[in-house]
Symmetry: C2
Subunit: 249 residues, 2 copies
């Protein structure tokens, strides 16, 4: 589908973990600093992969009612406590554990993310469309300088993607039609779900999300409306640089 067909898009809704921020790289960097500070010898790449691997199963337990509704911060903590035991880390204080759990609030954006979002912000309403809870996403945005107009969080629907309510809430709260909102994500399943609810979909591959050894997922047109190599490329494809240039004058 040509970019011209996207003229009606008014808001860009971003998946966050993996698409906007590099959870694996940040957890490794902060974890290695913790190794040095506390004399640990944890393999933080393995730890990050194991932490992320518990993400979907734990949300599915909430969806099936096996766990009560809990925020992603709380699900991260549930997994963290199990993984610390599994990796033999027994010396962290409660405060250190909470600080480590909140690494998800401090995740570093991919190198193009802030510049690309800032350009896109001149032309489009920018919202998250994320399973992260509000406090997590607000902290991350302040920490990283992400220019969101709205924090749209699964927490507001008390349901996790791919629950339809999360996608529907996004365009309803923005008072837009589904096809006036485009999901930007690095994950084919998320993009397919968004398209299934009438949203537009843009694939931005993040080949390093799961580490240098992993095979990145792929999805292409016509399954999505647009493919952009990163957010600066997305701004260029959508003509957002022109608007930003005008605003600077």
């Amino acid at each position: 589908m040509a970019v011209a067909d996207l003229a009606g898009v008014k808001a860009l809704a971003f998946d966050v973990f993996g698409t906007v921020v590099d959870y694996r790289g940040t957890i490794i960097a902060e974890g290695e600093a913790l190794n040095r500070a506390r004399g640990l010898a944890v393999d933080w790449a393995a730890f990050a992969d194991a932490w992320r691997a518990r993400y979907r199963p734990n949300m599915d337990r909430v969806a099936r009612g096996e766990l009560p509704w809990m925020s992603l911060d709380a699900l991260h903590r549930l997994a963290l406590d199990e993984l610390l035991a599994q990796f033999g880390v027994t010396t962290l204080s409660e405060e250190e554990k909470q600080r480590l759990n909140h690494v998800w609030r401090r995740l570093r954006p991919w190198p193009d993310a802030v510049a690309g979002l800032t350009r896109l912000h001149a032309k489009y309403i920018l919202t998250t469309l994320s399973n992260g809870n509000v406090a997590l996403l607000v902290s991350m945005a302040r920490h990283a300088g992400l220019p969101w107009d709205f924090i749209c969080s699964a927490e507001l629907a008390r349901a996790y993607k791919p629950d339809p309510r999360v996608y529907q809430m996004t365009y309803r709260l923005l008072d837009l039609r589904p096809d006036e909102v485009m999901l930007v994500a690095a994950h084919p399943s998320d993009l397919r779900a968004a398209r299934g609810h009438g949203l537009r979909a843009c694939f931005t591959p993040r080949p390093l999300e799961a580490g240098p050894g992993a095979t990145p997922p792929v999805i292409a047109e016509p399954e999505v409306d647009l493919v952009a190599s990163d957010f600066e490329e997305l701004a260029r494809l959508l003509g957002a640089w022109q608007k930003a240039a005008k605003q600077r004058l």
Copy 2:
């Protein structure tokens, strides 16, 4: 209460209509432009006052179940259609009526608001705590350049202030204790309600909110935790200028 007692405050939650933005002045300015464009002779000061006068009664009708839940945009439109008939305006197209109704999305901030919020943003999480719906508040923030970290709207609780759920939602979504959030508002009833739910409260009088002839409401310490003449004074009282200055270095 001395400012030192507010050291635990992490987020400032702002009432919006009247406190951050000047609805009366904006409606008059846009209305007079409409008079000229369409050859009308509406008294827009009277119109603005009548529009605002229907705000509380219509929200109370929602609270009592006499109206289904509807957004503030929709309540504004309900009142607008009645007022256009009352003021004898019969020549506006549907598109013009919708544009006029969305004047609430384009309200102008008070002169100190953007500079004060920008300073405060360096030190505090800034959120709305408003009866405005999300789309209205997002549009207003983009239009006026208001640096909100989160759009906390009555729409998210499907209840209007002073319903307790609106205040409780604000600190819960930010993962804070009630006393870590301070409501900033020009309206004593809102501040009293916030204090009743454990929030801190700061009164910022807006003497021109209801026009030059009106008697502005007053509330003082110890009924509130702080009184600031405007948002720049608030930033000064809370030491936010120091933090902002550091960040610029």
